[in-house]
């Protein structure tokens, strides 16, 4: 499984990478903003994305909307400091499958990723 991390903070991407590696995920790519992420998405389509909201060049909500225009199924998790209910609803409307508020623990990140993958797999199995 290929996982893409999108966050303008390299420290956050490294923390996320470490958690994912502990969970056994080795195929990880990353991007520092929405523009780079969109290019990578087309070149090396991932199976799961973790996306920050506030980034330079193209923010996370714009990236998610653009990806949903061409791909309805890829699981996307928003990981952001934007914690207001209105923001969560806006992200869900844009097409995210789950939402993590920073600051986060390794356990909460692990739980949300597992939850998202389980839901996506269940949906795929039901359709099949």
């Amino acid at each position: 499984m290929k996982i893409m991390l999108v966050d303008d903070s390299r420290t956050i991407r490294n923390i996320q990478k470490n958690v994912l590696k502990q969970l056994g995920h080795e195929d990880i790519i990353d991007a520092e903003d929405g523009v780079v992420a969109l290019r990578l998405f087309n070149e090396q389509p991932p199976d799961l994305m973790l996306v920050d909201w506030n980034m330079p060049n193209m923010d996370g909500i714009t990236l998610i909307r653009k990806i949903r225009e061409v791909n309805k199924t890829i699981p996307m998790i928003m990981c952001t400091t934007e914690a207001e209910k209105s923001r969560v609803l806006e992200a869900i409307k844009a097409g995210v499958n789950n939402y993590i508020v920073k600051p986060f623990t390794a356990e909460s990140l692990n739980e949300k990723i597992s939850q998202t993958l389980a839901k996506t797999q269940a949906a795929t199995t039901t359709k099949a």
Binding site: D8, S9, R10, T11, I12, N14, I15, N18, N54, M55, P56, T80, T81, E82, A83, E84, V101, K102, P103, F104, T105
Partner: protein, 168 residues
């Protein structure tokens, strides 16, 4: 500065440093910033705009910033490390975002973080006065959180105040 803005910052400081760095923070009594405040070596700055405007600045010494960034990133981060400013900026971002989420009913946006690195510098962060300094203590050293924030509603003439003005 309205005192109702203080507690969300205090809660967010504690939550951010405890969750991301494993560092419980003892928060001291907020004080009004004096112009003679000594400078910091590292400052993480975030601006607020919208229904309330102002800024937040995290002030550290080099030593404390390095220790906190190391706890945060899980690898040794000295001021020369490529990720040093990034780590401090992200901590400022989390403190600001966590506080913002607690301002119910206010639509506030935060800027991307800026980080200033240089021995004994000062930051002229905002025209909002007075600015408060929140002293913070951890097992790896002390740091300060400076906040200045005010409602922007008082600076604009709302339809209701216009109506009242006409009536009187």
């Amino acid at each position: 500065m309205n005192v109702r803005y203080i507690n969300p910052f205090v809660r967010s400081i504690r939550n951010t440093f405890e969750t991301m760095c494993g560092l419980p923070v003892t928060v001291g009594k907020p004080q009004i910033k004096e112009s003679t405040e000594p400078g910091a070596d590292v400052s993480g700055v975030i601006g607020f705009s919208g229904d309330a405007a102002g800024s937040l600045v995290l002030h550290f010494s080099f030593e404390t910033a390095s220790k906190i960034a190391t706890k945060f990133a899980g690898v040794d981060i000295t001021p020369e490390h490529d990720d040093f400013a990034d780590a401090i900026g992200e901590l400022a971002n989390m403190v600001a975002g966590g506080a913002k989420a607690q301002f119910e009913g206010l639509n506030i946006s935060i800027s991307l973080p800026n980080v200033i690195v240089g021995a004994n510098h000062s930051v002229s962060a905002s025209r909002v006065t007075p600015r408060l300094i929140i002293p913070c203590d951890t097992e790896v050293g002390q740091f300060q959180v400076e906040i200045g924030m005010e409602s922007t509603a008082s600076k604009t003439t709302t339809p209701s105040t216009v109506a009242q003005g006409v009536a009187s």
